[in-house]
């Protein structure tokens, strides 16, 4: 068996006395779509932050492509192709959608010449292609800050794809998106995974979305790994149901 693309082993993180993550382990095999669920405050976003290097972890290890990344910083990890999107969307509000896309090119092996040079036509073509893919082509000249929340989410997703990641961590991709657009988004996530070969780890509260999307789901509660398994197993897991309905 080949080693997984991302292997989180025994990661703990506390903020003062609050233990946000306690001994969390999970695996994300290459090419799969993995889900991460759990009630609010269960430590999902903290785990994302730990993985991408936003804050140091207290113990445990995080292996990406077999290399330990637990001591690396956010931009270094991003350049290795491990990218995350934010729960509250983050786009460059005073730049046009096209400029948002252009600056999202991969920044690995960038020399001084790349830093000052202009982008080639192919970058613009690729940007337009991906904006088309998420359905924002007609908005390409608008300021990103003028888009609606849902459109900003789509733009953020397109920016992530522009960066050509190997592993993409999505923090609630469907939150705040119009229900009729959600089906389209699920379809795009699946297409990104299949045609672009991007592995996905997705935090999601919308059970219909995550059950349809993920092949394997991890469930956190109170900072601990409560259960994991195939969507159908988890749906019938009493512990998961209790966690969501507040039996604790």
């Amino acid at each position: 068996m080949t080693s997984p693309l991302l292997q989180v082993s025994g990661v703990s993180k506390a903020f003062g006395g609050v233990v946000a993550n306690n001994d969390i382990s999970l695996e994300v095999p290459e090419g799969k779509i993995i889900g991460l669920i759990g009630p609010n405050g269960s430590g999902k976003t903290t785990l994302f932050n730990s993985i991408v290097g936003y804050h140091p972890i207290d113990s445990g290890s995080i292996l990406y492509c077999g290399n330990d990344i637990s001591n690396m910083h956010v931009p270094e990890i991003a350049r290795l192709g491990l990218l995350r999107t934010f729960q509250q969307t983050r786009v460059y509000g005073l730049m046009t959608c096209m400029d948002n896309m252009r600056i999202s090119v991969p920044h690995v092996n960038e020399g001084f010449r790349h830093m000052v040079a202009r982008h080639s036509e192919s970058v613009a073509d690729r940007a337009e292609e991906l904006l088309e893919f998420v359905g924002l082509y007609s908005k390409r000249r608008l300021m990103a800050g003028d888009l609606s929340f849902g459109q900003q989410k789509l733009l953020e997703f397109a920016m992530a794809l522009m960066n050509e990641p190997r592993l993409l961590l999505l923090d609630e991709p469907t939150a705040g998106i119009n229900p009729t657009l959600i089906n389209g988004l699920i379809d795009r996530l699946q297409r990104a995974s299949e045609t672009l070969g991007i592995t996905l780890l997705v935090i999601e509260h919308n059970m219909r979305v995550i059950m349809n999307l993920a092949e394997h789901i991890y469930c956190l509660a109170h900072g601990e790994m409560l259960a994991d398994g195939a969507p159908s197993e988890l749906q019938n897991d009493q512990r998961v149901i209790d966690a969501y309905l507040g039996a604790h």
Binding site: R90, F149, M159, N163
Partner: protein, 346 residues
């Protein structure tokens, strides 16, 4: 297209002919070009990158001192210089130019290296913290310079007298020097803003955490932005010392309360984060200032203060920002007139 050429042609003729047409105010015109350079270089960080620096004046002052010290030490011993007290008849055009060029080159090196070192230390700070820290830098620089005897300490440093008989009128010389500097700064910056550098520093302005999360080399871009400011300010400072003829540590070199604040105001007045904004802002500000000095003498500082308040209250987005909000098509922005989808709050 023809229209465009005419516009540029008129600008070029005006710029080249201004001191000949108005010889009485050629030094003020040279100052205008310096102000444009100030505003343009401040805007790299303050406007395009969102880092409000009140410390850029440090590079101006350091450049001024380095150039003057090299000009002094290349051709005079300390005693000679002391006794001549700036009235240096002994220097000829070639020596003067050699000293100036080598001095300017050295000040570029010193200022760029200084920017890189300071940047590594304080560009990690964000928002107000960065602004306050840079404010401290400017004040500290003046205090330090005022305590070093080698550069004249508090009593200042006299720069070599301009050899009029070899190089013609110094007003013309420095006007064209500052004109070239402002034009080169403008062209280099507009070229940089169109490339990845411009996009990256705009991204840092809009959301630095996001820029980091996308793998942008934020530290490199920030340091580079400050080094570019330092490069042009070194060239500006070195020549300014020679134009004024006397370097006072806190009034001329590290003049935080005047130049240091004006460079911020001019960029804001014209429109932060645009290429023409600082140019327009500097021109309007400088002309107003000269008018106050001429017609409101005695009240010129009060009038300047009132102007500053008016700028901040009525033009928070600057002249270019005002124009862009009213007539976006005029500046090449394409507008979608369709009503935006109502915002869905998470």
């Amino acid at each position: 297209m023809i229209h465009r050429y005419i516009k540029w042609g008129v600008l070029i003729v005006l710029a080249l002919g201004a001191p000949v047409l108005m010889p009485a105010i050629k030094t003020q015109l040279a100052m205008l070009m310096l102000m444009i350079t100030f505003a343009l270089t401040w805007d790299i960080m303050g406007g395009q990158m969102g880092y409000n620096s009140f410390g850029n004046i440090v590079f101006f002052g350091v450049g001024m001192y380095v150039t003057a010290v090299i000009q002094r030490d290349m051709f005079f011993t300390a005693e000679e210089y002391e006794t001549m007290a700036g009235a240096l008849g002994a220097i000829d055009g070639t020596d003067y130019l050699t000293g100036l060029v080598i001095g300017l080159a050295a000040s570029i090196v010193v200022c760029v290296v200084l920017a890189a070192i300071l940047g590594a230390g304080i560009l990690k700070l964000r928002g107000h913290y960065f602004a306050i820290c840079t404010l401290g830098l400017g004040i500290a620089a003046a205090e330090i310079a005022g305590g070093i005897d080698y550069i004249g300490a508090g009593s200042g440093l006299v720069t070599p007298t301009f050899p009029n008989e070899y190089l013609g009128d110094r007003g013309y010389f420095f006007y064209y020097y500052f004109l070239v500097l402002a034009v080169v700064a403008f062209l280099v910056l507009s070229w940089l803003y169109r490339g990845q550098f411009g996009l990256a520093i705009n991204a840092i302005r809009d959301d630095e955490d996001k820029a980091e999360a996308m793998g942008i080399h934020t530290t490199r871009y920030k340091t580079m932005a400050w080094c570019i400011s330092a490069f042009f300010l070194a060239l500006a400072g070195g020549a300014m010392g020679n134009l004024v003829g006397f370097i006072d540590p806190s009034e001329v070199a590290f003049a935080g309360a005047t130049y240091g604040v004006w460079m911020v105001l001019m960029a804001i007045l014209g429109g932060k984060g645009t290429i023409w904004g600082p140019v327009i802002g500097a021109a309007v500000f400088h002309i107003m200032q000269e008018l106050f000095w001429t017609y409101l003498f005695g009240w010129q500082r009060v009038a300047l203060g009132a102007l500053i308040i008016a700028i901040v209250v009525f033009f928070p987005e600057g002249i270019m920002g005002f124009v862009r909000a009213r007539w976006p098509e005029l500046l090449g922005h394409k507008v979608d007139h369709q009503t935006p989808e109502s915002r869905i709050v998470p």
